[in-house]
Symmetry: C3
Subunit: 225 residues, 3 copies
């Protein structure tokens, strides 16, 4: 199967790392929203496993990996405990969290795309589902926290683009039959570095091209709620 | 199969039209919420494909049509590009968009109901799932945009009822074994016209029968956010 | 099958009762949010059937019970009609609704866990899915109503813990092969009583352990919206 790109144990370890850092971001948002410890655990689980869960439902891989691999389920609880006791420290290391989150983004985009292709999806659909795997958990996290998903907001650094690039590289490698551990690793790294650069230089995506340049900025208040 | 009511190419063309107009409404909401171009694309995809995706997951038709038919995936991107460059013009044609949206509503209610029945659901469940197919994308759009779904708000013109009528007509046709391209077309048209009339005359559904007529209108502010 | 713990007719009656009281809570929230009668029906259906629907999608039991059992679908409509005409009376009986809701919580946690185990999930995953069955509908209800899910908020009485205890008892009974109608009933009762006690004594879960005791309470305003 294509998605055994890395040795199983390496793959599994990488997955757990990605799940862990996504869970940290969920638990931190829960602290900011003043949720209790169960709210933290729920948001950690949803952020970490939501993207993969969506992918597995779409491709018909039920029960999803999130419910068959105990490590996947327990990792977010570990993240919850950590944030519960150490959240000022964890927030202070926000940069470190962001770096790990970028790694998780690249990793999930690549493994999501390959798994979708393994299950018979076309190349474009596989890339789209790889993107959904990478960003889905974060969107669910924001929806549950009753916030506008940061993925959609114009005032956040590029998040989808690095994942799209990673997924597209995988799809091209499949198309030209050069997908292996090295090319996959390159795709993960590319997405990872793009995300780091986007954060470093505050790259942003354009909003709709507004023909009336005098358009006032009221809509912004609406999104700021 | 029942859902080949129209010739395949006619059916497919109608589906693409429905997807396109739903996508326009998603992309326009994204512009109003000040999302960037990726937020527009996400909202366009979700609005256009969300209802059918939900239906396909429920009936076990995986991977869902949204991920197997490339046209379904690309149409919302075309809508996004259009709205990106021309959104003041598109908004000015809001009436046209509403008319197409009404057509999409009727079409998706009818095809959703027939597909659900094809997959073995009962008559009532098929109609319910047809309704969900027609309105599901719009609800997902509003949830992602962090708005109260306009489907649920009392101060919007009837939207669910036309879809329910269309779905109910299909179910009655199945029951009395007279479902064909003509009766299906009639159901689509009926739902379409009902929705147009609801918009024209601002038909609204009643709110809970409030025994204390002195009830103050504060709750309204809450929904207005 | 394990989930035929009670005689089928008893089980089905209990399910309908649980669905009914969950639907009441959905319809009441719709009234408070000033939704129209269709909004009430949608919120009633989602609250009552959402948790079970999620469980059935995860374990691959499609079409889900919500779409194959007509009673499951009609019960929320009955609740909607009731709340529509009698909502001041129903709100006055809020305590009664809360008691029934607690019963539904216990019941759905136990039946959700057993059904998940029947479909081949591990013990921990089964308990997690039992919890999701019990609380999922309420979370969906709050997301659709554009509220912070009350499950996540620190200022609500314990809701997840009673369900977790009920699910854990089932899992332990399975592990030690003593699951039957009596032990299941005991698990339901324990969850039910715990929830009643939590409401009576306002048990709450802790928020993140804040090392800086001078932390100001601004975040609360944010969640209060």
């Amino acid at each position: 199967m294509l998605h055994d790109l890395f040795s199983p144990s390496v793959q599994h370890t990488l997955d757990l790392v990605g799940i862990f850092v996504f869970a940290i971001s969920g638990a931190l948002l829960a602290v900011r929203k003043n949720f209790d410890v169960f709210g933290m655990a729920v948001l950690a689980e949803v952020t970490a496993l939501g993207g993969g869960l969506f992918r597995d439902l779409i491709i018909g891989a039920v029960p999803p990996a999130a419910f068959t691999d105990l490590g996947y389920f327990l990792m977010p609880l570990v993240a919850t405990v950590l944030v519960f006791f150490l959240h000022p420290e964890v927030e202070r290391t926000q940069t470190a969290v962001n770096v790990f989150d970028a790694a998780g983004l690249g990793l999930f985009a690549v493994t999501g795309t390959t798994k979708a292709y393994d299950y018979g999806l076309g190349l474009t659909s596989s890339a789209a589902l790889g993107l959904a795997t990478a960003v889905g958990g974060g969107v669910l996290r924001d929806v549950l926290a009753n916030e506008v998903p940061s993925l959609l907001r114009w005032d956040r650094d590029l998040y989808a683009v690095p994942a799209i690039v990673g997924a597209a590289m995988v799809v091209l490698c499949i198309r030209f039959e050069v997908l292996n551990a090295y090319t996959s690793g390159t795709a993960v790294l590319t997405a990872f570095l793009l995300r780091l650069l986007a954060m470093r230089y505050h790259w942003r995506a354009p909003r709709a091209w507004n023909r009336r340049s005098t358009a006032r900025e009221e809509p912004e208040k609406a999104t700021a709620q």
